[in-house]
Symmetry: C2
């Protein structure tokens, strides 16, 4: 019989924090959603400077939690890539809320102001668009199928 | 001249995580918002079992970030209590998103199902109601001025 892992409590806030409530886990999810990163090497190169052992443990933890899943890269068969599951995609509204909060309080923020305004004024629509884009292998800011290029094609203000 | 603290990056996700992106910080904010806790002793008694040194460091960190503020208790003048600032109150939408995500995936959740349904179906309204209640010294689940008692008085379905 599998031994059940100890939980700190059954509070829903605590459940989420035990699943992905770690700065590094959330930055990995950010890298996938906003920048289309997929591989260990790509996550490692992010500017926050995650350590190799922390990156490996967070990827394993999120895979175990069913938030990300590992598969063989279509581009390079030797490489493994990580993508968000449905459970992982459902964290996107949280990322949007986190970014909105910061954009409101961080005077030095690197967030594009037009993008933040769009997320604040048409939040539900943007969350839906980000979710569909990331599920289909795209990202918010990077790549030909990105949310930004979709918005540009639809004559949005961005 | 004051030495500027090093930031990992200027990304808005990272900014929030450096401000309160720690499981223990978010559980303290949860205690304030949902359970009306205000004092060091009350936070210490939460079921997740925060350690005294972690609690003290997280309170100091959030006070420094302007998320909570310390004041003399009106009830017991010897005691200090912590309340959310406007910047701290703006974290409430995030808590609601976190709880919604968990309620959808945690089959053992302690979250009242009716409450989660209400937050999912009338999210903007509930966030506003929670914000006003907490700003006025109340909480979601506890006390005579709680969100729950307001909803009951207004013949809501809870």
């Amino acid at each position: 019989m599998k031994h059940k892992q100890q939980r700190r409590s059954y509070c829903p806030i605590n459940f989420a924090l035990e699943s992905f409530g770690d700065p590094w886990s959330l930055l990995i999810i950010r890298d996938i959603v906003y920048f289309g990163k997929k591989t260990y090497g790509e996550f490692l190169s992010s500017e926050e400077g995650i350590a190799t052992n922390i990156l490996a443990s967070r990827l394993a933890q999120m895979e175990k939690q069913g938030i990300i899943t590992k598969r063989q890269s279509k581009m390079e068969r030797r490489k493994e890539e990580y993508v968000l599951t449905e459970k992982g995609l459902d964290i996107i509204p949280l990322l949007v809320e986190i970014a909105s909060w910061s954009a409101g309080y961080d005077r030095e923020t690197a967030a594009p102001i037009d993008w933040i305004t769009l997320c604040n004024t048409r939040k539900a629509e943007m969350i839906q668009l980000i979710r569909e884009t990331v599920r289909d292998g795209g990202a918010v800011f990077v790549g030909p199928g990105s949310v930004l290029s979709k918005l540009a094609g639809e004559d949005h203000q961005l």
